[in-house]
């Protein structure tokens, strides 16, 4: 675009200090209604503030806009007549933009949901994602985001909603509990294990998003488990042949091949679970996010 065309007049002429859209809209209404009092359609404004806005415009343009007629009605000056006429183009351009914005909002804004690949595999995440997908007026997309990058991507705008065990600083992010991922004990069946891998008596605990659930409880019940990362857990899920036979893994509830894995009793009193949180940037432009997250949170507490 040509910058030259956008140069605002200088040399002591109107630089538009008070000529904002609010003032111009007020002017258009006063012009049409021929009264300072009739203003108020759409925007709540007192007669006094409307008069002040007209005075601001007159100061900015160095021209009188209205005078009182014989019957007390407002009579536009020649300058006001021209201004009103010229405003048509600007008003049309403003309407075009607002129509476009309204179209985007009505056809559904895209909500970029992020989570770690390990969280993505959990049943709880899928339930949650389906629920968000079913909300009218929102189009949902997913991209894998490591918990370590969650804050950065939420800040940059690449991700609108993060679902996982991560929760950022309260001043910057809003984070609410969205559900609980149950943990189960999976034992790698022996017969199908890789021939080269000797039977193992290892007990591993998946640190979902880097945070293992209630480690002490599990530790007492099943001796001290070996903490494994999300990536190792996912690798073994996809390549069970590489997991030593009889390895027990305390991991999040996921769908897995029953030919390779056997679910065992954890042997602890209560359920072992880890809280899943939904987080978003406190200043995110999507005004529906607090309500959406509130709805999810309410579902958890039901």
């Amino acid at each position: 675009m040509d910058f030259e065309k956008e140069r605002v007049p200088d040399h002591g002429e109107s630089r538009g200090e008070a000529v904002d859209f609010r003032h111009l809209s007020a002017f258009q209404t006063v012009y049409q209604e021929k009264s300072y009092s009739c203003w108020g359609k759409g925007v709540v404004s007192t007669r006094k503030s409307v008069m002040r806005m007209m005075q601001n415009l007159e100061r900015s343009f160095h021209c009188s806009l209205f005078e009182k007629g014989a019957l007390g009605e407002l009579v536009p000056s020649a300058f006001a007549e021209r201004l009103f006429n010229d405003l048509r183009f600007l008003t049309a351009a403003r309407y075009r933009m607002m129509d476009h914005v309204r179209g985007i909002r009505e056809s559904g804004r895209v909500l970029h949901v992020g989570s770690s690949a390990a969280v993505f595999r959990t049943q709880e995440f899928r339930n949650l994602f389906r629920e968000i997908q079913s909300i009218h007026g929102i189009r949902t997309s997913y991209s894998p985001v490591d918990a370590a990058d969650a804050g950065r991507l939420l800040m940059s705008g690449q991700c609108d909603l993060y679902i996982g065990c991560w929760s950022g600083a309260a001043s910057r992010f809003v984070s609410r509990e969205a559900g609980r991922v149950g943990f189960r004990c999976y034992r790698r069946r022996g017969a199908e294990a890789a021939t080269g891998s000797p039977p193992s008596a290892r007990t591993c605990l998946v640190a979902l998003d880097g945070k293992p659930p209630a480690g002490e409880t599990i530790g007492r019940a099943l001796e001290t488990p070996e903490i494994i990362t999300d990536s190792k857990w996912l690798y073994w899920l996809d390549h069970p042949e590489d997991c030593p036979a009889d390895t027990r893994i305390i991991g999040p509830e996921v769908q897995l091949d029953p030919m390779c894995w056997e679910v065992e009793d954890l042997g602890v009193a209560g359920p072992v679970a880890k809280a899943l949180r939904v987080s978003f940037l406190r200043q995110h432009p999507y005004e529906f996010l607090p309500a959406l997250v509130g709805k999810i949170e309410k579902r958890v507490h039901l």
Binding site: M1, D2, E4, K5, E6, R7, V8, P9, H11, E13, S14, R15, G16, V19, D20, F21, R22, F61, H62, C63, A78, F79, R82, L83, D86, L87, F89, L90, A92, A93, R94, R96, M97, M98, H100, V101, R102, I104, R105, R109, M155, S156, G157, Q158, D160, Q283, H284, P285, Y286, E287
Partner: protein, 308 residues
Amino acid sequence: MTEPDIRELQCFLALVRSGSFSAAAHSLGVSQPAVSAQISKLEQVIGFPLFYRGPEGTSVTEQGQALVPLIEDIVREYTDLLRRAAYWRRAQTKQVKIWVDGSKAAQAARMRAGAVENHRDSEAWYDLQHDTGWTGALLNLEVDVVLAGSFLKAADVPGIRTRIIRAQRGITLAWNPTYHDFNRQSLSLVEAISSTAILPVSSMAMGFRDFLTHWCKSVYGQALDEAIECKSESDAVNACKLGLGVMLFPGDADERLGLGKEGLESVRAFEFTLPDAFIYGIRYRTDEQNPQILATVERLEKSMGKRD
């Protein structure tokens, strides 16, 4: 749904163009937090993110990109509105806004007008900024009358009329014989541009620099890299007298500036290949109906005297 205001939209465009909050703040003459706040407010009002923010810079989102032409339209219409309003105000107060280039003729006209009380009140004279495209400014009512030169067809723009004060042939090459030992009979343009060229800024002779650059490149295969651009004819004569380079000015610069009296030597070039190449005149809108502006044009034409 509330509507964003012009300041936020201007910030949006500045950020789209610059790609960084600090550069946008610099171009708008505000602080970086102010731009950041305006963009946040705009995103809240619009209801979706307009930018991806990262340590390596800012990039516009797909939805933000779709808004760029629409916001450009609004900002352009807004700017035009202010210009038109300023024009109507001038019409009401019977004031004419005049831009003048750095030529001696224009500066003399300005001095003469300043000496007459009537003209002092009704005419507002300003120096033409050398980076200003005065044709656009005339067409969009930013200015009413422009006194400036042009070369060949550079200023032949629909909607702009020129009252020609001077129409001169070719170009003039001038130098200070104390510093440059050129032979008047055999001096060629290629020899002249081998030293630094002293040229008028584009506002004084629109299209002249482009012509020279193109000519030197296509005919001599040389780039016109070493050049001093002068805002006024007086500056150019002084630079030439100081031996800073060879003056290349459009038309008959000797006749206009009295180069001989200044101790400079000069020759003419392209006299026959470029007749009436340099036009100096009073420029105004073709469809201008404001009697005050038309009267000013008449007065200036008379006072500056039409000379071919």
